[in-house]
């Protein structure tokens, strides 16, 4: 894959945001907020960082693997998968509709290329990614396994079972990321269940922690992910704390949990798309 410039990545990100909003609007359901917040991360991952093959095979030997633990932000994942060649962008028309491969939450049941595990019920993806990473180690496969989690998701107990395990077994070919947008369905995480200091928590569990303070700035995200790669394979699992704003890229959606799981109206969609240039052609 030809190395893309930051500007090119930003242009892709604009289209990804359009895709997310159009998918959610078309079916009047889905989760736009954190999809927009994680757009730089997904774009950087699929168009710059991952060594991956859009001619999908489940095992992915010799490839970097990505798992989405907070499956509700499926729109952004479906967009980058289709825009990087896993399936036709037209298929985004079927998002959340009957007989679609683009289920509300990602699934393997319908055989959508790019998806290796179902997710949606929170707290499970970190364990799955660790297992995939350990299997690669058994085989001497030098590639890296990535997983994204939500910050609210850190409230699930299984996450901490997995965090303990990864450090104990020195799963250092794993780069986990937490989307630190400080919001969850019922409000701000500090009010719902205060996460306090995730860096201190993970460090005390034996992880290497890497802050990406500007998670909606493409250059910072690419540099942060590069840095994480450099921290991997040194005996510890790596965690990125990706500081993002929910709804980023659309002025009336940014920074609130209000758009966690609701769709824009016709007027709101038009207003939002007016702020996001169409760069790769709408599906």
């Amino acid at each position: 894959m030809e190395k893309k410039s930051i500007e090119q990545l930003e242009q892709i990100a604009s289209q990804v945001r359009r895709d997310c909003l159009r998918m959610v609007h078309a079916v009047q359901s889905g989760h736009p907020g954190a999809s927009l917040g994680c757009t730089e991360f997904f774009t950087a991952l699929y168009f710059d960082q991952l060594n991956h093959d859009p001619n999908f095979n489940m095992e992915g030997k010799g490839e970097d693997l990505f798992f989405l633990s907070n499956g509700h932000i499926s729109p952004v994942w479906y967009s980058v998968l289709s825009r990087s060649g896993y399936f036709s962008p037209e298929e985004m028309n079927t998002f959340r509709k009957l007989n679609s491969r683009l289920q509300g939450h990602p699934a393997t049941e319908e055989g959508l290329p790019g998806i290796r595990i179902a997710s949606g019920s929170l707290g499970q993806g970190l364990s799955v990614a660790i297992g995939a990473a350990q299997a690669k180690k058994i085989d001497g496969d030098k590639s890296t396994v990535y997983v994204l989690m939500g910050d609210g998701e850190q409230e699930e107990g299984q996450i901490w079972e997995a965090a303990m395990y990864a450090a104990h077994w020195k799963v250092d070919n794993l780069i986990a990321t937490i989307d630190l947008n400080r919001q969850q369905i019922d409000g701000a995480t500090k009010d719902i269940m205060n996460l306090i200091d995730l860096r201190a928590k993970y460090e005390s569990f034996g992880w290497e922690v890497n802050d990406i303070f500007q998670g909606n700035d493409m250059k910072s995200v690419v540099e942060g992910l590069e840095k994480a790669k450099g921290l991997s394979r040194q005996g510890k699992p790596v965690l990125n704390l990706l500081h993002t704003e929910m709804g980023f890229g659309v002025d009336f959606m940014v920074g609130t949990h209000k758009w966690h799981g609701i769709a824009p109206s016709d007027e709101q969609l038009a207003e939002a798309l007016g702020q996001l240039p169409e760069t790769l052609g709408d599906y």
Binding site: M58, E59, G60, K61, L65, F67, A107, T108, E109, R116, I117, A118, S119, G120, S121, G123, Q124, G125, L126, S127, V128, A129, I130, G131, A132, A133, Q134, A135, K136, I138, D139, D141, G157, Q158, E161, A162, M164, Y165, H168, W169
Partner: protein
């Protein structure tokens, strides 16, 4: 009492079915380098130590964290590994139901969930550990295969067989020392019921430890002039419906016997099959909507009505309903 009966199957040795699992697991590991093991702090109880010793690079202690263990196992399948998870049946199912549902069953992952200390015969530890609902929970999951072998030899054969089968499997076995009455060289066919004893008056469909009780019950019934057919349903899902319907077409009634709740167990599977295709009276031998308690396995099977005498009583009752 069983020694004075003319039994169609006999035994010279007793052993726990979990040891059949442990020995089968080691054999599966020798045959296939993709077989890996995970255990949540119960390596001794699950008899996984020999595998761990021979294949340390393919064995993962997870600590007391069963939810994580299920997720790790699901992840390992993606690279083509065949993970066998080991913990008690209670912690293999109820504790981790959502992990199994999403990451294993719905995702179609090739994980072998190996569950020891199932049922009342766990004994003195009491009801917290005596799960009697696990078969129901597991058989309700799409894609899941559910297997409950009857003795050491069948458990060992089943363990080897599931390594060659592609798809999620729940393998249930137990702790008590139990008669070894099946062939050590048997071929285990997933989903294929085994007609152990032919009969004409009533069919006894049994699974797990209660297959032995069914063998004893058949001899008791025969001594009273009642001809019972005994069918070993080691695979509860997929259920061998043809074997069930063929037998009941002949006998006209059925008794089911299992170390499980009435609700959701083998009895329900058999009754559903008969109700849909050939309605016939069925009596259940199992636990009737209660938790267990501390006691020896024999005491518990007696108190909760799961032994040969209760199978005999159920057979007489169902015969009267024909």
């Amino acid at each position: 009492m069983e020694k004075t009966l003319d039994l169609k199957f006999n035994y010279t040795e007793k052993k726990d079915t979990r040891s059949g699992f442990g020995d089968g697991f080691l054999e599966a590991g020798r045959r296939n380098p993709n077989v890996v093991g995970l255990c949540a702090d119960l390596i001794g109880s699950l008899k996984m130590g020999a595998f761990q010793k021979e294949f340390p690079e393919r064995f993962f202690q997870t600590g007391i964290a069963e939810a994580n263990m299920m997720g790790i196992a699901a992840g390992m399948t993606i690279n083509g590994k065949i993970p066998f998870t080991g913990t008690f049946a209670n912690f293999s199912t109820g504790r981790v139901y959502d992990q199994i549902r999403q990451s294993i069953a719905y995702s179609g992952k090739n994980v072998k969930i190996c569950a020891s200390h199932a049922g009342l015969t766990l004994g003195e530890d009491g009801a917290t550990h005596q799960i009697l609902e696990d078969v129901g929970m597991m058989k309700m999951l799409p894609h899941m295969t559910v297997i409950n072998p009857c003795d050491y030899n069948q458990t060992k054969a089943a363990t080897i067989a599931i390594a060659d089968y592609e798809g999620p499997v729940y393998l249930r076995f137990g702790r008590p020392s139990w008669p070894i009455f099946t062939d050590p060289a048997q071929k285990f066919e997933i989903g294929k019921a085994w007609k152990m004893i032919e009969g004409t008056d009533v069919t006894i469909f049994a699974t797990g430890h209660l297959v032995w009780e069914a063998v004893v019950a058949e001899a008791m019934l025969r001594s009273e002039g009642i001809s019972a057919e005994v069918i070993n349903i080691h695979t509860i899902k997929p259920l061998d419906q043809e074997a069930i319907l063929d037998s009941v077409a002949k006998t006209g009634c059925a008794v089911t016997a299992e170390e499980h709740q009435y609700n959701g167990g083998l009895g329900d599977s058999v009754a559903q099959t008969l109700a849909r295709h050939n309605p016939a009276p069925v009596e259940y031998v199992g636990v009737n909507d209660s938790f267990g308690e501390s006691g020896t396995p024999t005491q518990l099977l007696d108190k909760y009505g799961l032994d040969a005498a209760n199978i005999v009583a159920a057979a007489k009752k169902v015969l009267a309903r024909k």
